[in-house]
């Protein structure tokens, strides 16, 4: 009887705690969309700066994600499949960008890619301006979001039993052939989900971008700029439009994660 009562009290407490957190997370977004969602969508038609900013955000985030996927996939496979000296250090290094404050990441990138740096000056010599250009935005997005892709992709590869690859090899496949005929299709959903997470993180980045490239403005910088220059009323529609557009990758991610079939 006593244990039943304890169970009931704990259940009520757990439900209450979960509801409070959910409310805290959802309420600001719901309020934002409710208050300014309509105007935000209208502004998409009339505000050219907002449209250009969203377009820039989409292009830079997609480019950063493509680079992240291209370079991060082999790295993730290596970390999931191989045991080698320094593997733990490499994994920790990959997590570092997730832990440091993003303005700090921006400063570090500025040191590496700024006009006076070795890389930045060489790039300028061949006509490539990194800081203050879309390249700077891509670099900042890549730095802060690629570790998320590598981490997710590594998990996706680790979930594919290596014996599938082994069987494919004994059936005549080269390592590359086994990878693209077996591993990639089996890890595909996980990789795609990780890419969506990376893309979403890149879209929402502010701290590192604002240090590397204030102009041209990506959406996050634009909403901050409207807020500081014109106040809350001007920032609200932009923020609401961004919140509504964020539902796209979120929905995609959910769809990808609903089917996580496994086979033994």
């Amino acid at each position: 009887m006593k244990s039943k009562l304890t169970h009931a009290v704990l259940s009520v407490f757990a439900a209450l705690a979960a509801s409070l957190l959910l409310l805290f997370l959802a309420a600001p977004i719901v309020k934002l969309v409710a208050d300014a969602g309509g105007e935000g969508l209208t502004r998409l038609g009339s505000d050219a700066e907002l449209r250009n900013s969203l377009l820039l955000t989409g292009i830079t985030a997609t480019t950063a994600t493509l680079i992240g996927v291209l370079c991060g996939t082999p790295l993730a496979w290596l970390l999931a499949r191989k045991r080698f000296p320094g593997r733990a250090i490499l994994a920790a290094l990959l997590d570092l960008p997730l832990l440091i404050p993003h303005p700090v990441a921006g400063i570090a990138l500025l040191l590496l890619l700024g006009r006076d740096s070795a890389v930045g000056s060489r790039a300028l010599e061949i006509g490539l301006r990194i800081v203050g250009s879309p390249l700077g935005i891509i670099a900042a997005m890549l730095f802060v979001s690629a570790p998320l892709f590598v981490s997710g992709a590594r998990e996706a590869f680790a979930k594919v039993d290596a014996r599938y690859e082994g069987v494919a090899r004994t059936l005549g496949d080269s390592p590359w052939s086994a990878f693209h005929r077996v591993t990639l299709p089996l890890a595909g959903r996980g990789l795609l989900a990780s890419a969506v997470v990376m893309w979403a993180r890149a879209v929402s980045e502010f701290g590192a971008i604002v240090i590397l490239t204030y102009n041209p403005k990506v959406a996050s910088v634009l909403s901050y700029d409207r807020f500081t220059s014109f106040g809350l009323s001007e920032a609200l529609p932009v923020a609401a439009a961004l919140a509504i557009l964020a539902l796209v990758p979120l929905t995609l991610l959910r769809a990808l994660r609903t089917d996580t079939r496994d086979d033994r």
């Binding site: 014996r163 599938y164 494919a168 090899r169 004994t170 077996v182």
Partner: protein, 359 residues
Amino acid sequence: MIHLEHVHALKGRFLLDDVSLRLNAGEFGVVIGPAGSGKTTLLEVVAGLLSPQKGTVTLHGADARKLPPEQRDLSLVYQHAFLFPHLSVKENVAYGAADDATMHEISERFDIIPLFARDVRGLSGGERQLVALARAFARRPKLLLLDEPFSALDPRRRTVVRREVRALHRAWGLTTLQVTHDFAEAGMLGDRAVLLDGGRVLQEGTPAEVFRKPASPYVAEFLGAENVFAGTARDLGEATPDWVDGEPSIYAQGHRAFAFETEGLTFYAVGDFATGVGHAVIRAEEITIARDQTFDSARNRFAGRVTEVTTLGALTRVAIEVRGVPLVAALTTRSALELQLAPGIAVVASFKAMAVHLC
């Protein structure tokens, strides 16, 4: 041909330790051992999926250490099949198939054509194993590596598939290495048996040799021998036993006579054994039971009492106590019924000297 010499291979924390085995072209080898003994690891070394740290691996007469799995001309079937879940049954079988004709021939032989359009995730365990076997055969390899490939099949189908595998092995001249923990299966299929435990080869030989002449009491017990006794073996040497005619030179060539003392009993044994402390193994099927003292050629004859009678279909196990020492005999149920065996009945257990294996 598979030839492993002093192979050491590490998989996680498990070590395959100084494993040597030889399987000639066309032979069917069976690796037996308890779970975690290294059977699958051994197959993975042969397949090239795990590189040995030391030792040599020779396949088809060539050094295979530098050969990747795809160049070893083999197929591997895991116990859990590992069918590719993103492909249909047909696509799985066709995955590494030599050609369409072979794929269809094999699929017919394993009766899986009705499954072709099915999603492999919806197959039963037995169906998965059938598809995995078909996929392996469809490649038409020279070497076949099978890891408990019949474990999920029902008994009737297991018999049919086992026969089919053996027939294909013969017809195609394959060299096959199969892992099993079922010694009966090993006896049915294997030309050679390798007993593995803790990553080491405990014994290698024909299944009959391994079964009848286990190298240690552990091997004997693993292989289901129920009468294993610790004691001391004494070479009867010059004292020619009464059942051996002629001079010692005759029995000195591998047919020496021994007396094995254990717990107050003396067993007579004939063979080529070491003297001193060791074990005697007598298989239950080698022991006959009589209700009274009969005179036959058996040199070991002990009066005792039945303690337990257990009937399993046509086979009956009879436990007997001889001066406090337990013996187990396996009889046909019909014999047990005719002898009217029951606990407490006085009987005589007898077995030939050749049935006593000392190790």
